[in-house]
């Protein structure tokens, strides 16, 4: 079986202005969304706060839960269904984090037990993150991404050329920004596992980009006289089959994860799904074309 017939010659570089325009548009959409939402929708990992995951024995409503929480002044907390409908699981999120021993999750547990009976509710998970820790984690998350990019920049400069490293890092930044933007557009919470997902996307997309670069390096050695643009185009075409296949196998598992992984993993898989698609796109349409555009300008 072959998805991409040998000898395929698509002029990827010829449509690079169009590709750059498309990328710019998507990036702009994400940034506009982030601005309209007043920043990223940080989960409690980064914003601080208290989160309680409760499983009820009997079906209940978000409104009923809120009414019950009103007695301890938490009626303004965020209550949302979690997981599938039949599971009767809800997330209760309160902005406040209380650092003394009169902890909020204990109060929530007590109030709900009063309303639903002691065996009617099960507290499955509670998380409290103080504002100080939230800030620390935010800093660490950004640093992690920056250090990863620097490490990659150095490695590619060593293995290829500096200009290739720049192209790769631009492609990666492109992927990260679009994924973060997609999170904002879908109004999903930005949490610690999402940072892990983004770093994975960096690793993955880079994988793709390196394969193409590797082929360019090889083809350039073989035919020194050919124009750079032509070498680049044939290299992208030659690796196209592999690019699509790997994206496909990775996508298969990520989609499975998205469907069967359950609540916590759900958003993580969403980030990976976006990232794999964007990463594949960028290794074809961004990473190499940007090098060409850069060199022609000079």
């Amino acid at each position: 079986m072959e998805f991409v017939k040998p000898g395929t010659k698509i002029d990827f570089l010829g449509i690079r202005s169009f590709a750059f325009g498309l990328s710019g548009l998507v990036i702009a959409a994400g940034i506009v969304s982030i601005i309209l939402h007043g920043g990223l929708n940080y989960g409690i990992d980064f914003a601080g706060g208290t989160l309680v995951q409760v499983k009820f024995l009997e079906p209940t409503q978000v409104e009923t839960i809120k009414e019950n929480l009103a007695s301890i002044g938490l009626d303004r907390s965020l209550v949302q269904r979690f997981g599938e409908k039949g599971e009767n699981e809800y997330l209760i999120r309160v902005e406040k984090s209380v650092s003394d021993l009169e902890d909020l999750s204990g109060q929530i547990e007590g109030t709900l037990q009063e309303a639903y009976g002691k065996s009617g509710v099960e507290i499955r998970r509670t998380e409290m993150v103080g504002p100080k820790v939230g800030k620390d984690l935010r800093k660490k998350g950004i640093l992690a991404i920056v250090y990863a990019l620097i490490g990659i920049l150095i490695y590619i400069t060593w293995r290829f050329e500096f200009i290739f490293a720049v192209g790769a890092v631009i492609a990666l930044a492109h992927d990260v920004i679009i994924t973060v933007g997609a999170f904002s557009i879908a109004n999903k919470e930005f949490t610690l596992p999402i940072v892990a997902a983004i770093l994975t996307i960096i690793g993955y997309s880079l994988n793709d980009t390196i394969v193409v670069y590797d082929r360019i390096r090889e083809n350039r050695r073989k035919a020194r006289r050919e124009p750079f643009a032509k070498i680049m185009n044939s290299s992208i075409n030659e690796t196209l089959s592999r690019t699509i296949l790997t994206s496909l196998t990775t996508l298969i598992v990520v989609v499975i994860l998205f469907i069967f992984g359950g609540g916590v993993i759900h958003d993580f898989a969403f980030a990976l799904m976006v990232g794999v698609l964007v990463g594949t796109y960028s290794s074809i349409f961004v990473a190499s074309p940007i090098i060409l555009t850069w060199q022609q300008r000079k």
Binding site: M128, L192, V264
Partner: protein, 530 residues
Amino acid sequence: MSRNLRWKLLLIIFITAVALIYLVPSVVGKIPGLLGRILPQDKIHLGLDLQGGMHLVLEVEAQKAVESYMERIKGDLKDDLKRKRIYAPIIERINGDQLSLEVLGEKEKFDEFIEDNYPVLIEIAAEDRGKYHKVILGIEKKQADFLKRYAVDQALETIRNRVDQFGVAEPDISPQGSDRILIQLPGIKDPQRALRLIGRTALLEFKLVDDEHSLQEALKGRVPEGDIILYQRRENQETGRVSKVPFLLKEKTLMTGEVLKDARVQFGDLNEPYVTLELDPRGAKMFDRITGQNVKKRLAIILDNNVYSAPEIRERISGGRAQITGIFSLDEARDLVIVLRAGALPAPVKILENRSVGPSLGKDLIDKGVKSIIIGGILVVLFMVTYYKISGAIADLALILNLILIMGALAGLRATLTLPGIAGIILTIGMAVDANVLIFERIREELRLGKTPRAAIDGGYSKAFLTIMDANVTTLIAAVVLFQFGTGPVKGFAVTLSIGIVASLFTALFVSRIVFEVILAKRKLKRVSI
């Protein structure tokens, strides 16, 4: 088959066998008898998010230790100055850790006295105001730093003791940064109770009740000099309503929990629990003196600023025993004994982060994770066979081996498997086939150029090698950064991803190659099924 090839095959079998042996405890459970003792016994260690438990980050408010030290100095200084006839009628603690004094008379005499007797104090400001000198004293930075460091060390030790007595299997209590403590308690059933036990300061104090002044007047805001008001918290067992009873106490602390030797739960006539305290010899002597000097007065027993009881001293007590009564449940009495035995925290702690996961949630997550791995794995395996035929089956073999190696390495390295870690394994499935895809595409290219099967396979592997290395090393860079910066669950993800990358390099570059070699050695291939 060449000798070289046979050795390589043996190596693969050996590595697979080792991985499988490490997996035995996780899959089958403990094996009885001699065999069980020879084989490794570590199961794959599950993270708190998967097995349930509590993850706490506390901050020791070390500055408070410095402040209470200055508070003690203030008391001593007052007495000493009086004895030396240096008149400083007003001494106050200001800005947390400074003392403000109004010194009457000769300032030189005062300075000399401080220098000789309180070398840790330094003069921050002094002002001649005619009638008196206004002096601000601070604490030497070295001493303050020492106190802070000591407070954190001591808090760590105390919390360790409390957790040990509470009885948690495999707790992990470690310092983090300069003033933080990380506590991991796997499988804990009642996180609320554990939190109260760990986080409370448990400062036990004995103070006299001031019966000479009116409590009513004091409550109106006219608290007599040297007195304080503290409350007794009473909870009605039936209605759960909390009431507070005020007490007017002498501020001076006569004795603290430092002199405690042991504490025990006892039961009274109505089977109500109470706590008996046994004092060490120094404490017994102190208690003997205190009770002897204050017969007919009431002695309040205070824990963390909450008055537990204030019985009247009927006679001198010399046995070194005291008791705390008060209305509490058996659990409360037991926890009280634990904190009293372990001693007080030198400074209060603040909870920065608290994550608890119930055991049922973890089981759910594992089930879903395993289900995803199986479904995703099967789909990828089927896809590879459809697309690459027999070669695809070889890649599948490498993939399955890859999974076995990852799990075996997790058990062998005693790494922790977390929920994102499971996600990492699933992702590895997707990416592990990538190396084989790269090789197979190369082999196809070589075949198209009209090369023989042997040459095409050799060419495919050697040309893809560098690409695969470059691609994986860069992913590994991301994984290592993740490990450095991540906490708990994210670290788990980095671990499985890194192991997965290394394992897939081995299976794709080495194992699948050997399988091809074996096939090539066995028969003369006319064409490659790819």
